[in-house]
Symmetry: D2
Subunit: 362 residues, 4 copies
């Protein structure tokens, strides 16, 4: 059976995002993890040893247990890694490392990345499933310009994902003029080494996450922009974000305020959410949810603990849709999006499934 | 010594806000708590017995210990209470109870209230220290119209307090057109019976607090409005709020976005915050802070755990002042305000100190 | 299909334990919830309305969603309820209410209860699955003495469950002389109304839970006692407990110290845990786990967040088995047990499955 | 004024324990911090820059703000540091670093250390204020044997402190035979780099802290041992500990079970706690509390959030004193001790004050 699956590698496999890739790929019908990379320090170790901390604790953060097969794989060094023979490489490394590693890999194979290194390049699309698949045409541009056999397609920052997913139907149906967003982000968004320490987050809110707001503002505009020739014309609406960290394990909560281009009722807005994504969902990709957006009527929802796992972490849950009195044609709502599932590894895998379906991978 | 202090009563003394009144009045130079009221159920008990739960635990939530004098006072029933001889009554009861009790008391004595019952009446000012003391002229209108010897002056909802304190200098210096605000509120804002239960708030955010957003929007406009003859003309700018609850004990955090009436620099905005309140502070009232607004340059501040107790809980801490790209002449910032100190009991006491200084009390 | 299932009722259906019963019985192969009881206040309402709080929030605490069928059932009043035609009644009410309701029901039908009211009666067994099924013989004694067609069998306090499950193999294999146990209990153990409030448990440990230690000590001795004629002779070993509450949602953690009757090695103790319960598990009851006790070698396990759901909440996870130097033949370990699953509703359901298999129910 | 204070240095000044030293010494009447050491990486930086993390956040964890004087001191490298001219050096470094640095410093000056490196050496006393000051005679032995002008005196592990403080009066008054202790330790005990991460401790208990139990068992026996000639004869009673980590910021909670050498009543035990330490307290040292042990009657106390700051963090609070039924002459109780105050920096400073009074320092 497994011989028919496409061989893939996870680079940055020991980090939190890397672990989420392994958890999500454990029983994947299309992809099979055959190789793992991490830093020099982990190279040569069995994976389950590479994730021990100095006291001997296994630091595995996915809710699914680590499979013995993956735990037994030998970790290779990301810096000297030869990707030949792989169908796709998933990277989950810091931006600086990505800037070095990803172009080298992309010469040979497709790279689907959670890093920000190439997100803002003209010939690089930032994919969110069901939102901007038309941007896939940029992949050919990228290959031609850079002379690569593979390519790099990053997913966005995890805080962008829920926001852009909710804005997509509003852009398509009503037009969007301005967006104000305050996030209350989960601790897992900061990774595990060191991540957010208990002393900082218990009984507290951290009002700042370095570089996060700039990413959210810029990525949202690019993702919701229009492919124009060989580049993407960013959406013209302004986005203003305040990104904070709260005492939550998983699931980013965002309070969103939107100025629409035309008058709309709360009911019309909810309908646009509910109907979004039919074409993408019709593809029947293995990791796709049944609904991209879940709309709640109970004003106490969505809550990160109750709603982060909606559709196995692949749906954005939206509630409290109501008129906003401060903005022109204002509408406001609260959303919850799973930052380490749709917002990171599982979202990247779903993109790879799409690209495989469309012939870019495999 | 104590004979020279003004005798006061706390109504609703067993609740969380009532306890904050007792803690704040324990060594007060001007006011002395001589009587306590609560519901029928507590009447006749010693105060320290009235706050026990069924298992025998003393449910006292102020950080200062309960003084033996106050613990030994006998609790009276709020419904049959005769306020004769008191200089002022502080009420900390639910809105429905306030609607019944406060007018009865106000016939005889001044009432400074944390309840919302009368906040929206035409002849009732909602005071925040240093923000709208000019509204005190309404007290005479209220007395005349209602034929009361006393009066009722509520403080605002605890979430309004920090927001309006930060907007006041912006209104005065630049003018304000629109306000968008997302709050991340502490558990103590919900009181103690039952308050927010651990099962709801651990590893979670609650995206809704019933009636809170309406209060914040309406009260902010009234507080920052202009006294016009015998009423207050609400400020004309629109306010849009999303109020959420997070896993924090004390201290509300608010992300604020303001469209100013004219262009301003970040430096000018910070200066307006820093210079605010000089006249009020010059009065030297016992509970007044040295600064009403504290401005932080470190982008990781303010944090509720680190900044709620700034100036003994009587200052609003503001940080992350920066340009907002989504609103016209947009400016955004994060604030932390102590919800049970300046935002409730201690704020009400400071108002009473002001009114005593101006001859309305005592 | 459903016509072949046995009709059952849950009394106290709106509380936290009651909700766990409904969640666990939603797709049960043997039992079907056909009726629901709660207090007078809820009687006549649809179940989903009966669990709303004053602000309109649906207070449903099981991780599984409430099924529409159960949400639509009309709640009946527990005090006037006629159980005729039911195969078994599950009760999840406070002890005082149980003392009144349960004997009335037991005259007609079997009652499996989470309340403590009858736990200490001579003719009442306190069942833990796989631990003391031999005590079932007491049911006949109880029926005869009390002249009931039904009977009452309580499950123990949720903190007793994990302790007694871990002690059972030690008693059987080595003998037990003394037991010292410190618990770190989850907030859900206190229920939802009011339960443990956030203000008490965030950044804190509560060192006392009223009556809990007495229950644990007494119940453990009875459960591990020997059926002697028409009563149970309590086990002769002493038990000393300190029960505390920590900031955890679900899953009780217990640090246990045992003085064995004879020398044993760590390996022998682990083996006794691993091999425990084979006979009971061989019955293949629907809610039974594959293992009653799960033994960990990683010293950082068990943790309540990672291990409470082992075997769908029906296994007790044990780790850190090591020699104790303070007690004679001392052995110590840490366990985690799911307090609202095996420790309450799902444990009671598994008992009912056993009693149905043995002909006491149905 | 400051010229009359004794010049001291803090080694390991950037860590959590080092910060607590700086906070506690900020206005000290006897000692003045004139020099600071940390690792090579921090050397040459101003202290306030040395504690920034990569994102620019100042990582300062004491509740008192960092004084400008200390913030402006230049950090020196601990490995090449010349202590000449200092009255005492306080070290707050890991054990491996201490093993290298402390002997070098002790050749010249007294070293009071929070590290475990030398705790178990025959000629090294482990001091707890008011518990074992008679062990000071070992300092002369140590100097003579090692040929040092200075000496090394470590304080114990922070979990040992509260336990040994509570056992001291029991040993003195009744004799102690066996001790069983389960700790629920605060996140701050793990330091700040990386410390306990939020992902591990939110909604969780960690059942293991590497090496902690061995330290507690061994140190308690040594501290409560008897000086016999040139060494300490460890106390003969057995100690068995289980050390866990809970979601608490500061303050270790411990459930203690003691087998006394003779029968005692609860009242006698409480009296022994209350009367403990009179001689030591009579010295009137600047950092000494008014009471070393605070006894609570309310069964819901002590709680870490409410009681950790008793006597400015320098008292151990004890509650729930009651008979234990499992041990011979058994008595049990719960204590809370401030792990970063009496349990670390402030405890070490109080020891230095004692040694200065007795002529060993200055």
């Amino acid at each position: 059976m497994s011989s028919s699956r496409l061989p893939v590698c996870v680079v940055g496999a020991t980090g939190l995002a890397g672990q989420q890739f392994l958890a999500a790929l454990a029983d994947h019908p299309t992809f099979q993890v055959t190789r793992l990379c991490a830093t020099e320090r982990s190279a040569g170790k069995r994976y389950s040893d590479a994730i021990r901390d100095p006291s001997g604790a296994i630091k595995w953060y996915a809710s699914e247990p680590l499979s013995p097969e993956l735990g037994g794989l030998e970790v290779e060094s990301g810096s000297s890694f030869d990707p030949s023979g792989l169908a796709v490489v998933f990277t989950a490394v810091e931006s600086d490392a990505a800037r070095e590693i990803e172009p080298r890999l992309a010469r040979t194979v497709p790279v689907v990345s959670t890093a920000s290194a190439f997100r803002y390049d003209d010939d690089v699309p930032i994919f969110i499933p069901g939102v901007n698949m038309a941007h896939a045409a940029l992949i050919d541009v990228q290959r031609r310009r850079r002379g690569w056999k593979g390519f790099v397609t990053p997913v966005p920052n995890c805080t962008t994902t829920g926001l852009a997913m909710s804005l997509a139907p509003l852009c398509a149906t009503f037009g969007v003029r301005r967006v104000v967003m305050t996030s209350m982000q989960a601790a897992s968004g900061a990774g595990r080494s060191p991540g957010v320490i208990g002393l900082d987050i218990i009984d507290n809110v951290i009002p700042f996450i370095a570089k996060e707001e700039e990413k959210v503002e810029r990525e949202t505009q690019k993702i919701l922009g229009r492919l124009a020739g060989e580049t993407i014309e960013s959406a013209s609406f302004a986005v203003s974000a305040t990104c904070t960290r709260v005492s939550v394990l998983e699931g980013h909560t965002e309070a969103v305020y939107v100025s629409l281009a035309r008058v709309a009722t709360v009911e019309e807005v909810k309908t646009s959410f509910r109907e979004w994504g039919a074409d993408f969902l019709a593809l029947g990709l293995p990791s796709a949810p049944a609904r991209l957006l879940v709309v709640h009527e109970d004003p106490f929802r969505p809550q990160p603990r109750l709603d982060r796992d909606a559709e196995r972490g692949m749906a954005t849950s939206i509630g409290r849709v109501r008129v906003d009195g401060a903005l022109e044609n204002g509408m406001k709502y609260v959303l919850v999006s799973h930052n380490t599932k749709m917002g990171a590894a599982k979202g990247a895998i779903l993109i790879a499934e799409y690209l495989a379906k469309k012939g870019y991978i495999g």
